[in-house]
């Protein structure tokens, strides 16, 4: 004789239903004995147990699952972001105001000259993004300071023997002398003086124009805004210049290093030298960049190349990267290295230094390494223990000029003009970079529909766009640069949001791997218990209906 039963486990509580179904059959003599039918209270209790588990699953589990795993996607103005990236949202225009100071001319004459010069300029100019707008500055010396403050350049017209032009080295002023007879008469439609002034202006701004048009063409600016007429070779040299200068950063770290091949010299007056020769330029650059400075001295430093005379090929391996403690960028700011090497090596004069070659030798004691810094070779008598300020003068002046080209300033023009040009170039550059970052973010959000977009990203995007709009309106001024800087920083922050990067790639099949190992085994008894329960309930109902029908029939 065999008996059969199952004691229900608390978790599954699914008693095998065979006992139920067989119980209703009449036992056939000789077959195994069947268990008695379940009591109604047991059946009800089992339903309650299954219900208690399912209530927790449905009323706690499901809402929690929904709440914790839905991906939060903040709304991004995708179309607007793509517009910025395509250059549709902003047409970069640099209205440069140029003041003409002609104290010796009558007002009528000056106006006439201005009109003619503007005509000549407009005829010459083929790039609509770069406007030169002339205006007459009032003759009174009191107001001169204010009006020339926001003008990019002031032209000072002085009567003289012949037509000459010189750039003032300390202020953005172009001095032009003119012979007295070249003043145009009020009725004439052309004037040699006007043409001369226009061509001088054009040549002054030629480099800036070329750089800006290069920048615009390198980015995704549609062709109608793109300047024509940028010669391929000019673009080539500009590309080289751009690769030579460092990527824009709000802060640069300057490292001044003194490497000596022997035990001496072991100290230098670098602080005084920096204060005297470099500080003024750093101060001028301060609206565009911040600088942090440190210095170091290293004795018995062996360069990577031991040749007495360094050829052009040697220069690239001169820096002994393995042994010299020239740290790469620490913290956020990129480092610019300025190395003074005291030794007896010299640089061989290149037969014909090709323009924009990788390693240039502007003088025969120093060379510039693109995006890295400058090395200056000094030979000193062997018993000098201390490097004085005077000895450091030439190196530091070289460093200063190299710093300008490393930060991407144009090469021609006077210093104030180069700096203001640098500010304009940088604001255009930042504007374009922020726009293209926005575009990348928009494309990323479109390409990965399952990526989470936290609200901080949406904040960053809206901040970026408002600053971009402001920057676009005030392009060319100092405000424009400030807005472009903020816009670029915000765009980068939004794009590199940490919580977004972590889940960059999480396809749906991975979710199965996350859920199934734990929830699968838990779900099996729950689901099977529920199914069995439903089946048994339907069966009971059917039986009851049959019984009812039988009773009626009787």
């Amino acid at each position: 004789m065999t008996s059969s039963t199952i004691i229900s486990e608390p978790l599954t509580a699914n008693r095998d239903l065979n006992s139920n179904s067989n119980a209703s059959l009449t036992p056939v003599p000789g077959s195994r004995k069947e268990p008695p039918p379940e009591k109604a209270s047991d059946i009800r209790r089992r339903s309650f147990i299954i219900l208690s588990f399912w209530l927790i699953v449905l009323f706690l589990g499901l809402p929690i699952w929904w709440k914790t795993t839905t991906i939060y996607r903040a709304n991004l103005p995708l179309q607007e972001m793509l517009d910025w990236a395509d250059g549709k949202a902003c047409r970069p225009v640099f209205p440069l105001r140029i003041a003409i100071e002609a104290n010796s001319l009558h007002e009528q004459e000056a106006h006439n000259l201005l009109r003619l010069t503007q005509h000549a300029l407009d005829d010459l100019n083929d790039f609509s993004g770069h406007h030169l707008r002339l205006q007459l500055s009032p003759p009174s010396t009191e107001k001169k300071q204010d009006s020339s403050h926001d003008a990019a350049l002031t032209i000072r017209l002085v009567p003289g023997e012949s037509s000459t032009s010189t750039l003032d080295p300390y202020a953005p002023v172009l001095n032009i002398t003119y012979p007295p007879n070249s003043i145009p008469s009020p009725t004439s439609s052309s004037s040699s003086l006007a043409t001369y002034v226009a061509s001088q202006l054009r040549s002054t701004f030629a480099e800036e124009q070329a750089i800006i048009s290069y920048l615009l063409s390198a980015n995704f600016i549609p062709s109608e805004h793109r300047p024509q007429g940028l010669a391929p070779e000019a673009a080539d040299s500009l590309a080289k210049r751009t690769t030579r200068s460092l990527k824009y950063a709000p802060t640069y770290h300057l490292t001044f290093s003194l490497f000596t091949s022997g035990p001496l010299p072991s100290s230098w007056d670098i602080e005084a030298a920096i204060d005297e020769y470099m500080k003024p330029v750093l101060d001028l650059l301060s609206p565009i960049h911040n600088f942090t400075i440190d210095t170091q001295v290293q004795l018995y430093a062996t360069p990577g190349v031991q040749n007495q005379v360094l050829s052009k090929e040697d220069l690239s391996s001169f820096i002994n990267a393995a042994e010299w403690p020239l740290s790469p960028s620490i913290g956020g700011a990129p480092t610019i290295n300025f190395v003074v090497f005291v030794g007896d090596q010299t640089i061989m004069a290149p037969p014909q230094a090709p323009e924009g070659s990788d390693v240039e030798a502007p003088t025969f004691q120093s060379f510039l390494i693109p995006q890295w810094g400058t090395v200056y070779l000094v030979s000193l008598p062997h018993d000098v223990p201390h490097v004085s300020v005077e000895t450091l003068k030439q190196p530091l002046l070289t460093f200063t000029s190299h710093l300008l080209s490393l930060t991407g300033a144009p090469q021609s023009g006077s210093l104030p003009l180069r700096l203001s040009t640098l500010a304009r170039i940088r604001s255009a550059d930042l504007l374009l970079r922020a726009s293209s970052t926005l575009g990348s973010l928009a494309r990323l959000a479109l390409a990965l529909p399952s990526i989470a977009i936290p609200s901080s990203v949406a904040d960053g995007v809206s901040k970026t766009m408002s600053h971009l709009r402001l920057a676009c309106e005030t392009l060319g001024g100092s405000e424009g640069l400030a807005h472009a800087r903020i816009a670029e920083a915000e765009a980068e922050r939004a794009f590199f949001e940490k919580s977004m990067v972590g889940q960059l790639y999480f396809p749906d099949e991975h979710k199965i791997a996350v859920y199934l190992p734990l929830l699968g085994p838990v779900a099996v008894p729950l689901v099977i218990g529920l199914l069995n329960e439903i089946k048994a309930w339907r069966k009971r109902r059917r039986e009851r209906a049959e019984k009812g029908a039988q009773k009626k029939a009787e």
Binding site: T5, I7, E9, P10, F53, I56, L60, I64, G502, L519
Partner: protein, 425 residues
């Protein structure tokens, strides 16, 4: 009466023996108590004595004890421990506190065992109830259980939770629902998870009410007692608030258990899982683990409605396996209640396997931990594997005890099946 006297004399001897054993370990093996206090099997982030001392130091220097993120225990433990002399200079005071807590637990356990609730509850009387151990033996098994001793020597604060839970059960059994609810509130205040014991404890209280002052309506009884628990908890929280000056303690004590921010290894199953977890699914799986822990309460309470004490015992076993920061003190609480079911031991099928697996994990666990942390020749998987074995042993024991209790009930219904083998059909 004579028997009672003999019994109380024996009980006194037992208690004295337990005290002497503990004091001997404290004083003769002073290094052992510090060693045990640092073991991950005994001290979890929410019960560790070292962390308590850190919190105590901060508290006595008028700094919020939760600054620094080391102390995660209930704030009212701090004034309690401040009453005792400094542990470094005079440790006996603290030792006394822990030993007294153990003795009180043993006393409560003895009351539970002597009430006979395990064998014959209000709705069910087991035919095997005569074959049981007296309260004295049950208390002795608890007091001389190595896990209990190690917990006491390691000065884990879960000793107080254990004491509160056992007192809640003892009060419920002796028909004092109010005291039971107060004791449960204290346990829940100290370590939160005992709150899940409320439904079976309510059933137990309801079944064991004194007929004189019984509340007949189940709903009214439940609401009254839930209100008691809520009131006591609110009072405790308010006191904690006055003591620490902010509600910060809620997130630092219960928040830690809910979010598992401290992933120090322990004998449980959570830490390894959440080290590996993807960050974006972390909150979901935390909820799943907590729901899993709490989903047994309803099912067990309904299924074994006739023996609420069995439900409490089984739940404590389940908590010792699945709670966020389990330690061997949770196991010792479960093992303290298991001997109450001496009468169903013959129905258990795998006692040998369970005992061997638990012993095996007990000895291999510390050595695997040593291999991982100190010798460096193993990795985290070593220790996790042995905790899996440990929890496997415990869950086997829980399942087997469930089986035995259910079979005992079933045999009352089907007396003709007594002694028959079960078979799945």
């Amino acid at each position: 009466m004579v028997g009672g006297k003999v019994n109380s004399g024996r009980m006194t001897a037992l208690l004295v023996g337990a005290v002497v054993l503990r004091l001997a370990i404290f004083y003769l093996l002073p290094g052992l108590s510090d060693l045990l206090a640092g073991r991950v099997e005994i001290s979890t982030p929410v019960t560790s004595f070292k962390r308590l001392q850190e919190g105590l130091f901060l508290y006595q220097h008028n700094v919020s004890p939760y600054d620094g993120g080391v102390y995660h225990q209930a704030p009212l433990l701090l004034p309690l421990f401040s009453l005792f002399p400094n542990f470094k200079s005079f440790p006996l005071g603290t030792y006394q506190l822990y030993i007294v807590a153990d003795l009180l637990s043993a006393r409560a356990l003895q009351l539970i065992a002597d009430s006979g609730e395990a064998g014959s509850s209000a709705l069910f009387t087991s035919p095997r109830r005569e074959k049981r151990w007296t309260g004295l033996i049950v208390a002795a098994v608890f007091l001389f259980n190595p896990f209990t001793i190690a917990t006491c020597i390691g000065r884990s604060t879960s000793v107080f939770t254990t004491c509160a839970i056992l007192h809640a059960i003892a009060k419920a059994v002796s028909g004092a629902p109010f005291s039971a609810m107060v004791a449960l509130s204290f346990a829940a205040y100290l370590s939160m998870y005992p709150l899940l014991l409320l439904p079976p404890l309510l059933l137990l209280c309801y079944d064991r009410q004194h007929p004189s002052c019984a509340i007949k309506s189940a709903g009214k009884f439940a609401i009254t007692n839930i209100l008691v628990v809520a009131g006591v908890l609110a009072a405790l929280f308010q006191m904690s608030y006055f003591m620490t000056g902010s509600w910060e303690f809620l997130s630092s004590t219960y928040g830690i258990q809910l979010t598992l921010t401290d992933l120090t290894p322990n004998v449980g199953l959570w830490w390894y899982f959440f080290i590996e977890m993807f960050d974006s699914f972390r909150s979901f799986f935390l909820a799943v683990f907590w729901l899993h822990l709490s989903c047994y309460v309803g099912g067990l309470s309904i299924r074994i409605r006739r023996q609420p004490l069995a439900v409490l015992t089984l739940l404590l076993g389940i908590f010792a396996i699945f709670k966020p920061y389990p330690s061997i003190s949770d196991t010792s609480l479960f093992l303290a209640l298991v001997p109450l079911y001496r009468h169903v031991f013959p129905l258990m099928r795998y006692t040998f396997v369970e005992a061997s697996v638990i012993l095996y994990a007990t000895f291999l666990g510390p050595s695997f931990y040593y291999l991982w942390i100190y010798a460096g020749s193993g990795n985290a998987n070593f220790f996790y594997a042995i905790t899996l074995v440990w929890n496997l042993g415990l869950s086997l024991l829980v399942c087997d005890l469930t089986f035995a209790v259910l079979r005992d009930e079933w045999e009352v219904e089907r007396p003709e099946m007594v002694g028959k083998e079960i078979r799945q059909i």
